[in-house]
């Protein structure tokens, strides 16, 4: 295969990574933005989404119906678990920044080890609901000017296209929720000044539980979407958490637009560099990028400077 088609293939793989990463990082960013909580357990919600997808799909007997059911059930269950963790643990720490980090580290291990005990150490796949190969064309300059041809190996599956589309749709929905609904207005008011939100009748504790649940549900959704591509494993949350933090720091903590831009940047470069060089180099470069952002633009690409 020539360089051009090869680059396109790598970009498409990168776009899938970017889509999943954007969903997960949006959840992390939402939780930090509204609650000022650095949720170290976020990767485990992603893992839990993937594992639950396998559980639900196999209970439903596999197939497309099983996957669709998992897509609906797993984020709801994970969101409920997270909201319960907020009400029982984080609330009683008064959302103190340092203590919530320690608490979410604890939550990380609890979720991880419970999964190991219940689900086991195996990596298990979920069958995608559809998985047609779509061959992609490339342009070539022949005798009669540019002409299309279908290089061998340049293709994507319909499921991967679905992941990209689904992530874009969910993110658009999240943006609409934040900017055009009553609950979004309550969340933004809480984010801007929690005390004043309370002084105007906004039940901040309930908003926090909702936001923590919503953030976890986004991670779980990312987990469900990835599981037909990557398989569910109890340790899969670690790498995903690292990449999410990288994305959120580069994008600017609490900024949805910045998160999406950074997810595309990191996801695409991760895909391309992994294909042409090695996945390790991709991680090294991403981490280096974070270092540069922290030095030269600590508030991130789209974040606001602290006033």
């Amino acid at each position: 295969m020539d360089f051009g088609p090869y680059l396109m293939l790598a970009s498409l793989e990168g776009a899938v990574t970017a889509a999943v990463l954007a969903l997960m990082a949006a959840g992390l960013s939402l939780v930090f933005g509204v609650m000022r909580v650095v949720n170290v357990a976020h990767g485990e919600f992603y893992m839990l989404g993937a594992v639950l997808a396998w559980v639900v799909a196999s209970m439903a007997g596999g197939g497309a119906a099983g996957f669709v059911l998992a897509l609906a059930v797993a984020p709801l269950v994970v969101g409920a678990v997270a909201a319960a963790a907020d009400v029982t643990v984080l609330k009683h720490l008064d959302y103190d920044p340092e203590r919530t980090i320690v608490a979410t580290i604890g939550l990380l291990y609890i979720l991880q080890q419970l999964t190991l005990m219940g689900y086991g150490p195996e990596a298990r796949p979920v069958e995608p609901p559809f998985n047609a190969r779509i061959a992609l064309p490339w342009v070539e300059w022949g005798q009669g000017g540019p002409q299309l041809y279908w290089p061998w190996g340049l293709s994507i599956t319909s499921y991967k296209l679905f992941v990209i589309g689904a992530a874009a749709a969910v993110l658009a929905g999240l943006w609409a929720l934040m900017t055009h609904t009553r609950i979004g207005l309550m969340m933004r008011a809480t984010q801007l000044d929690g005390e004043m939100a309370q002084a105007f009748g906004i039940p901040v504790e309930r908003v926090y539980a909702l936001v923590f649940g919503l953030g976890a549900a986004l991670a779980a959704l990312a987990g469900v979407l990835i599981v037909p591509i990557q398989q569910a494993h109890y340790l899969m949350g670690g790498d995903a958490l690292l990449l999410s933090f990288i994305v959120v720091i580069i994008g600017g903590l609490g900024s949805l637009a910045g998160t999406v831009i950074a997810a595309i940047l990191i996801g695409m470069s991760d895909g391309i560099i992994s294909v042409f060089f090695s996945p390790t180099l991709a991680k090294i470069i991403a981490t280096l990028l974070v270092a540069f952002v922290l030095v030269f633009r600590p508030e991130g690409l789209m974040g606001k400077r602290a006033r």
Binding site: R188, E195, A197, Q198, F200, G201, E205
Partner: protein, 231 residues
Amino acid sequence: MLEVRGIDAGYGPVQVLRGLSLSARPGEITCLLGRNGAGKTTTMKVIMGLLPLKAGRITLDGADIGSLPAHEVPRRGIGYIPQGRRLFSELTVAQNLEIGMRTRRSPPQVLDRVLELFPRLADRMGQRAETLSGGEQQMLATARALCLEPRVLLLDEPTEGLQPSMIEAIRQVVIRMKAEGVAILLVEQRLDAVLSAADRVVFIENGRARETVDAADLRADPAVLKRYLGV
């Protein structure tokens, strides 16, 4: 009537209020006077439920509001105009007012009436609150609280840093609210404003209410001011 009886409160281990009592009657302006750090702002925060009450009772028309969760307090009809305005800075004027309107699910006419009081806000509904001038921000903070149709209005230094025309505009609104029978609790540093508008003055010292004086008596004999404020 808002009644505060023997409250203790503070920030964590630091106690600020010690057995403070006061009351705010409908149709009257009750003014809190005292030196910096005496506990005026703390009193307002405790009334709003934003700081925990360690002892004492707070009642509104006989109903206990001191034990309510913070978000329930404004729903009983207490409008808060905090020091430094504390608007939702990135939200628009309209959204800031919407949050006020939703606190008690006020009917839409309330917003029309509030905008009648502050016509300048009506022209800036789509603008973000942080882009308003200081005076307009104070108008918005006041309008946001009036959207509750409050029975009690808490104003914490509403005229701080404003030009005289703005101070007068805010004063006119406060006097109008008083005429409509709202109980007004005011923290104000400018003595001339206090003496001209207040009905009663509560002197606060070291977290205790030392004395409550009719403003008319204070105008006749300002010697008390010297005792508590040293002016």
